[in-house]
């Protein structure tokens, strides 16, 4: 339905004839509008009137006036804003704008900058009539905009102090609204936007001239329009505060919404929108981190029990093979068992990695060197993939368990290879980066210097659902039996264990990038040479402590085979008793870390209180949140991961005893 003003517009337009200049007069005072209408019609102008900026914008959709005469102070969209908007419309480039205001002299804006062609001060009608007609005549005779920022007829105006005050308050409120971090809209009772602060404009990403007078619902995603409409229409004198969980979508952003009624005759409302996209992203990531942590605890428990079983199988196989002739009919079968144990151990290693099984052998390393080594090795086996390395020559060192980080990289390479069944490119990049508070929040890591490692493939990419679950253990997109779903889960766990972060960016059909952040070390890299390990026999007495009988039995036999005398204790308390009794005789203690009752850590502390120089090798199929490292830091000499092989065991013992 048309408003009275709009009806008037149509009637006037119908009345208009060829030679008449079209004038649009804008003022919220009906007396002023009536006066101007009478005056201008008498002088042969075709006049249209409007009471506010919203009506003007509607009129300008269909009409291009020759002259617009407007007040500066008006409800909804004020004259200054309206003038700027008109000047941004290419259609209006020949339209003359005349400011008709009682406050023009106090307005701290340069009227020329606004794009005005003349300015007339309001005053008694007899004086105004003359000024208006003279000014319009001048504008008609002049082809160029020759306005010199002077206000015609100031001498008759009065009460300027009040006006100054009014403008000061208004300007002050504008500054306040411009500084607020929330987006603020003022809307009419018909839900048309009449004000938007800079934050609101930035959130919606629409220019102010297009935004004003448009319908608020048009800004929202169509799925949210019904809910927003209800909210806007149902305000009844109380604050409508939507729950933050019930977000709405504007311009691809998630926003919370508050609607507040304005208690005035025009029944306008204020909408406050908050861009909560970042907060919701953090919440999702935090939820994901908690979920993975819970599953990790479960996975770690399974890995622990599984490793103990494997230790039994590995130990007895080693014992049988130790003095078996290679021609023996069972020799090859036993070697096969050992291979299967190794595969099983690899699987539990992945599980433990996911469960953040701890960093057992932390050293200062150069990630570029590890990436070079692992990617060259990987490239040899996957010729269909071309590998591109972009490594920062001045990369900071990192404190990592080299074996675990190699495992992380290989997992990421394998994942990339599987995403590129027809070949493609693998981009490996390293860089130094300083990370701030906002970024690290969901990851529970510290701000500061990090080494960033990016692994990018040109493969099939992932959709959002896959991306959300990519680090979940046992989640795989491969057919049953092809993937364990543990590679990326363990990668996640290992990086968390190193107090780092990992995230994934991927789009279906456009490849994937995994980015790993590891805390930079304060130390420098020390180069080490690795040598193959042989079985080394020795002499001495060892106290073997474990709560599992099968581990005790098999380890005892292995140690005796290596030449050592062995005492066994099936728990912490037994171990203390035995050590008290045989302390002078015992050269070394091999101590299980996780035991019921008195655990490895407590047992170690007791042993150390009895003998400060006690030599202990910590052994476990399990470690929680770097617990192994804590005990190592208290003076334990070495760590051996179950299931271990006889050569590893002999090597660790010799290193500690020698």
């Amino acid at each position: 339905m048309l408003s009275l003003t709009e009806k008037k517009v149509l009637q006037t337009a119908e009345k208009g004839s060829g030679g008449e200049k079209k004038v649009l007069v804008v003022d919220n005072n009906p007396v002023m509008l009536s006066f101007m209408n009478n005056l201008l019609v008498k002088h042969g102008y075709q006049v249209t009137t409007a009471e506010d900026g919203v009506t003007v914008l509607k009129i300008l959709e269909t009409t291009t006036p020759d002259i617009i005469i407007m007040d500066l102070i008006m409800p909804n969209i004020n004259g200054e804003k309206l003038c700027r908007m008109i000047r941004r419309m290419p259609r209006m480039k020949n339209t003359r704008v005349v400011i008709l205001s009682a406050v023009a002299a106090e307005y701290k804006t340069n009227l020329v900058d606004l794009g005005a062609n003349a300015c007339i001060a309001k005053g008694p009608f007899n004086k105004m009539s003359q000024r208006v007609i003279e000014t319009l005549d001048k504008l008609e005779s002049s082809s160029a905009y020759d306005f010199k920022d002077e206000v015609v007829g100031l001498e008759e105006t009065n009460s300027r102090d009040i006006v100054k005050e009014l403008l000061f308050v208004k300007k002050h409120l504008e500054v306040v609204l411009s500084s607020i971090s929330e987006g603020i809209f003022e809307i009419t009772s018909e839900a048309r936007i009449v004000y938007a602060n800079p934050t609101a404009i930035s959130i919606v990403g629409i220019a102010e001239e297009q935004l004003l007078a448009s319908h608020i619902l048009d800004l929202f995603h169509e799925i949210d329009r019904g809910r927003v409409d209800n909210l806007v229409n149902n305000i009844s004198g109380i604050t409508q505060n939507t729950n933050d969980d019930s977000f709405r979508l504007i311009n691809g952003k998630e926003v919370s919404l508050n609607v507040l009624p304005i208690h005035d005759v025009e029944k306008k409302s204020v909408l406050i929108i908050n861009d909560i996209s970042d907060r919701r992203r953090l919440e999702i990531e935090l939820r994901q981190a908690h979920k993975i942590e819970a599953i990790g605890t479960l996975a770690g428990g399974i890995a622990h029990d599984f490793n103990n079983l494997l230790m039994g199988i590995q130990g007895y196989t080693s014992l049988i093979l130790f003095d078996m002739n290679t021609n023996h009919p069972y020799y090859d079968k036993l070697r096969r068992i050992e291979e299967q144990v190794r595969s099983g151990a690899e699987l539990t290693k992945q599980l433990l990695g996911f469960a953040r099984g701890g960093r057992y052998e932390v050293k200062v390393v150069d990630m570029n060197e590890i990436i070079d080594k692992t990617s060259i090795m990987f490239g040899r086996t996957k010729k269909e993939i071309s590998i591109h390395r972009m490594l920062d020559e001045n990369l900071w060192a990192v404190d990592v368990d080299r074996g675990q980080i190699e495992q992380v990289l290989l997992n990421l390479y394998v994942n990339a290879w599987q995403a590129m069944p027809n070949g493609g490119s693998l981009y490996l990049e390293t860089a130094n980066i300083v990370i701030d508070k906002g970024y690290v929040k969901p990851y529970s890591v510290k701000v500061g210097r990090y080494v960033k490692i990016s692994v990018t493939d040109t493969g099939v990419g992932m959709d959002e659902k896959t991306r959300e679950r990519v680090f979940d253990p046992f989640f795989t997109t491969k057919e049953m039996g092809r993937g364990t779903g543990l590679g990326l889960a363990s990668t996640y766990g290992i990086i968390k264990g190193h107090k780092g972060m990992i995230n994934v960016y991927s789009e279906k059909g456009n490849g994937t990038t995994f980015t790993v952040y590891l805390p930079a070390s304060k130390k420098e890299v020390i180069k080490e040479e690795t040598v193959p390990i042989d079985i080394m026999k020795g002499e001495g007495t060892i106290l073997l402590v474990d709560d599992e009988d099968i581990i005790l039995d098999v380890s005892c036999e292995l140690l005796e085979m290596l030449g050592y005398k062995v005492y066994m204790a099936n728990g912490g308390r037994d171990a203390i008793e035995l050590y008290k009794e045989k302390m002078s005789e015992i050269d070394l203690v091999i101590l299980d870390m996780i035991m019921p009752g008195m655990g490895g850590g407590e047992t170690f502390d007791f042993l150390k209180s009895m003998n400060h120089d006690v030599k202990v090798i910590l052994s476990s199929g399990y470690s929680i949140n770097g617990k192994a490292k804590e005990i190592m830091d208290r003076g334990c000499r070495a760590f051996i991961q179950k299931p271990f092989q006889i050569n590893d065991l002999s090597d660790k013992i010799r290193k500690v005893l020698d």
């Binding site: 919220n28 007396v31 009478n38 009040i162």
Partner: protein
Amino acid sequence: MGTTREAGITLKQMAENVGLEEDDYLSLLELFITTSTAYVKELQAAIHNGDSKSVFETTHTIRGAAENLCIPEISGIAKELELRARQNILEGAEEAAECLMKELTYLTRIIHQENQYPN
């Protein structure tokens, strides 16, 4: 608050003061009375609610129109009320609003009388 009335002023004189034809002035005056009566009712509600900001804005509008039409009795009351509202003083505001309403009634009476006994 009060005002000095020019005793016995006619519509013709009022129109001459503004330099308008009497008919034109009359139509503007009628519009002014209608809109200002509505504004004064808004003003009374704002005074009742202690909303000095609205009092300030409404009297500002009334004063502007009264000055345009050269009605010093009304612009004078409105200006004083506006000044006081700016300082959050609403004491005596109800009486001032009442005076404005009386002035509007007086103007209505002038129009009525002259319509009954045209010059």
